[in-house]
Amino acid sequence: MTTIVVPGQPLGPAHAYVPGDGVHVFNGQIVSSLVGQVATSKPTSTNTNTATAATPTISVTKPTLSADEEASATLLPDVHAEVLCRVTRINARQATVAIFVVNGRVCGDEFQGVIRVQDVRMTEVDRVRIFTSFRPGDIVRARVISLGDQSNYYLSTAHNSLGVIMASSEAGDPMYPINWREMKSTRTGVIEERKVAKPF
């Protein structure tokens, strides 16, 4: 039978554990910040050089009824998070997107983000044009590079695995990628330009 802890409940001395998720340190004590179950994980064997290698990580997780629904209610994009987003509008400088999946989990609300023209791809940045990279309605895999300003998260697709993963042609037919910069319509065979993500 697992015990359930509440916020404010001390879990152990700070020197005996490495604080993980759902805990904080107060007065030399590891204290829970969530209602949930305590989990201690053995230290990974990769870093055996320091003294911290021997201390286990302690964390508190809140169990949920359905695997993804409740936990994603408090989900927010953070820097380095991989997100899926839908392009909402484009102009010459940037593509505005709506983020709806963060790190593989669907979030409760959509967050607005932008992919600036200089963040679309890694090389030949000066020759990138937004109009040949994204179109409104495309589904894009991107990475958060900054929390950005008050309303937008700044995203980047400057990696082979990042870019458009689903798109429709101008006529509205689904397209499949044929190389890193082009996609082909399944029905008419028309080729359109996109910044395509490398399929797995």
Binding site: V31, L65, A73, D78, Q150, S151, Y153
Partner: protein, 336 residues
């Protein structure tokens, strides 16, 4: 002449008029026996449950004798897209307390009045320090409290004292009725909001529990303008609106208390306290309120755990059932 366009700027009354609500005799008579049957250092029984509203991130429902309120927590959700909102490195907390129109003896409007806004800002103060807001940048967390029933009777000026169906003049022991009633509401709001935040899975340094205490002196002292405060001082935790045995109320203290860190996050004292012995009288009142908050913390802890416990047990029972007879269970469901 054309019919008058409806006035959209004001809260219009219904065109056909309304019947003013008729209440039975005031709760003071009903509560007095309950008050005397309870020792002054014991708080009323609390009913607190979380996760009753499925459409919000976290919710709770609290009942303390006449007081009934429900709390919804929404978010963290993205900030509204307007140029006026600045970049927020920490989550922005908004709190809202609304009495249902039928929640108090005096009917309330649908627009928040000053006492509701006041309660809202006090609730904000009680909770804002407990939430780990730095974990939720560029987002807002909304706490919405709906009071469904309370002992509140409006402010002191508008207080209507009804006994045996007749309106009577307020007596000396009715002083601070509104403060005591609102104090109990605020303490309930704080406790229930903490439970709802915990249910939402929002990370907190500690749970905040609310506590109320009042100090009374013997009624005779005030009536005869005698030496008030010489003795006969009574500290009552979680006081009822009607004072016990005609004692004269002196002051009320409401606070939000984080028991694990021994921190007071919100303190509200109203009334008159003597300063002849320095802050001794005030300290004692605060200590009583802290003790009341500690008592409600016990309920808060159990209520916060209850739903998680339920989820854990459900998950365990499912994991033990699945290998044996999944087909069997399905068949039973189909025939039923």
């Amino acid at each position: 002449m054309a019919a008058k366009a409806p006035d959209r700027r004001r809260n219009n009354p219904p065109s056909h008029g309304t019947t003013p609500p008729v209440f039975l005799s005031t709760s003071s008579d009903d509560i007095k026996p309950a008050q005397s049957s309870r020792p002054p250092d014991e708080i009323r029984k609390i009913f607190l449950r979380t996760g009753l509203i499925s459409s919000v991130t976290g919710s709770s429902f609290l009942e303390i004798a006449p007081l009934k309120l429900s709390v919804s927590v929404l978010g963290p959700r993205p900030l509204p897209r307007s140029a006026s909102t600045p970049f927020a490195a920490q989550a922005i907390l908004t709190t809202e307390v609304k009495f249902a129109p039928f929640a108090s003896t005096v009917r309330r409007g649908y627009i928040r009045d000053s006492s509701e806004r006041d309660l809202g800002s006090r609730l904000y103060q009680a909770l804002v320090g407990a939430i780990r807001r730095e974990l939720y940048p560029k987002s807002r967390i909304e706490v919405v409290v709906t009071v469904l029933d309370s002992e509140d009777e409006g402010d002191d000026v508008n207080t209507v004292c009804i006994e045996d169906g007749r309106t009577v003049e307020p007596q000396f022991w009715d002083v601070g009725r509104a403060d005591r009633a609102l104090g109990v509401v605020l303490a309930g709001c704080i406790t229930a909001a903490s439970a709802a935040l915990a249910d939402a899975g929002i990370e907190m340094f500690d749970l905040v529990s609310g506590g109320v205490a009042s100090v009374f002196v013997d009624g005779g002292d005030v009536k005869g303008k005698g030496k008030a405060g010489a003795g006969g001082k009574r500290y009552v935790r979680d006081p009822a609106v009607a004072p016990p045995d005609g004692d004269a109320p002196v002051a009320t203290c409401v606070l939000g208390y984080m028991a694990a860190r021994d921190e007071i996050s919100e303190l509200w004292i109203s009334g008159k306290l003597s300063t002849s012995e320095g802050t001794a009288e005030m300290d004692e009142l605060v200590d009583e309120a802290v003790a009341a908050a500690r008592s409600s913390r016990g309920v808060l802890n159990e209520a916060a755990k209850e739903r998680v416990q339920f989820i854990v047990e459900k998950a365990q029972s499912q994991s033990t059932e699945t290998p044996s007879a999944t087909g069997q269970g399905k068949d039973v469901e189909m025939t039923g």
